[in-house]
Symmetry: C2
Subunit: 245 residues, 2 copies
């Protein structure tokens, strides 16, 4: 169950929608139309927003916090397929289909959202081919990022995959040293990277020794970003800085 | 370099295009328009069709043979992101962008194609929102199949991943026993599944012992499909028979 809240004006909602890459090509007039149907909600860490394969007729624009998208095997194992935060949205994937969602969504750090009925997106794609192409472009980007992920799981070592995750958290790539704050639990980072928690711990220690990290709880000091880059990015087909979020 | 051939009439080309899932919603009139710009080509095993990140302004409809789509790391390793055969197409991914291709394509078993300028697809998406939604649906399917792949690499063992590959080659899932013909080299199957050749050999032997396979060169006898299914599909979130090709 989503906990509804009302905090934002219509203009406030439109402002959030304007920040979402998927919606950036839309006219303000269209976004105000979306805002009429929008609901705000908040959820605590641990809450399930929808289960895998369930029917879900709204898409979620993230305002704060973190959400994992996941699948579950018949044997009960879980695979995390993506981790979302603002200004991104999820749940638009079934845009062109009436089937159940290909993933479930659960909150991993307290989160707030704006939810919007998905039929508004479908109407807009039918009406506006420029938006149709924007949605295509967004899906293409997602598909390519999945290809990259498959590549990484094939050719990168576990410490390199953690290095890649840390590099994406580094804002200023020219700084020699930087302190990073891990945005969510290490166990979630491990599943996001497709590792067992023990593998993750071992790989993190190895990365620490190889490139000089200092790790205290959720805080990671990188003493030399360039060293981390050269250790990590040699096993990747993208040139750094890469565009993946 | 593609070796051009002329074998098919315009009606023959239209017939091929009608079999492609991505194009199935298009009017015959539109397909004849595509056929005017179509070129046929054939290539031998080993030929590169285009390199990763290269500019490529045509999409490829497969008529026969097999092609791998791949990425290459800075360190020179290769990751196979997909393997294609008829009636599928590739190269449409850059549909909505002018950037280089996110993958390269190389022939792994002698292949014939029809190639079509991609701008025709873009024109049709702009003109025809039903086709726009069909393209969205196709990309969504591709993205979900990538999520499944990431899931498999997370939760399936190497023998289970080979089992899943074999099950997809089984036509009649009700037959107790079946003889499969591996469609391309075992080394390519290994890279497709993200395994080193040695890991693949070990995992195949283990699968053989667990579910009762007889392997002679490229031919694999499965003595009991149900046993293979229950061994493999317990570590998957899809219910078998799954729709993945």
């Amino acid at each position: 169950m989503l906990i509804p809240i009302i905090k934002k004006t219509q203009a406030g909602i439109v402002q959030v929608l304007q920040s979402v890459p998927l919606l950036v090509s839309l006219d303000e007039r269209v976004l105000y139309h979306f805002a009429e149907y929008a609901q705000e909600a908040s959820e605590k860490k641990g809450a399930t927003l929808f289960a895998p394969d369930s029917v879900n007729d709204r898409f979620f624009v993230m305002c704060s916090g973190w959400v994992k998208l996941f699948r579950e095997t018949l044997g009960g194992d879980e695979a995390v397929v993506d981790i979302m935060t603002a200004p991104y949205c999820f749940g638009e994937i079934g845009l062109a289909s009436t089937e159940g969602m290909p993933y479930g969504a659960a909150v991993i750090e307290d989160a707030t959202f704006i939810t919007i009925p998905r039929f508004l997106l479908v109407e807009e794609v039918r009406r506006n081919s420029v938006f149709g192409l924007a949605v295509l472009q967004d899906l293409t980007r997602q598909k390519i990022s999945r290809d990259m992920e498959i590549e990484h799981r094939t050719v990168q070592t576990a410490p390199q995959r953690i290095g890649c995750f840390l590099l994406k958290l580094c804002g200023d790539r020219d700084a020699g040293a930087v302190t990073l704050h891990l945005p969510y639990d290490k166990t979630v980072i491990a599943s996001r990277l497709g590792m067992q928690p023990e593998t993750f711990s071992r790989a993190l220690s190895r990365l620490r020794d190889e490139v000089g990290l200092t790790i205290k709880g959720a805080s990671v000091d990188v003493s030399d970003i360039k060293k981390l880059m050269s250790y990590t990015c040699s096993a990747c087909s993208s040139s750094f800085p890469c565009e993946d979020h």
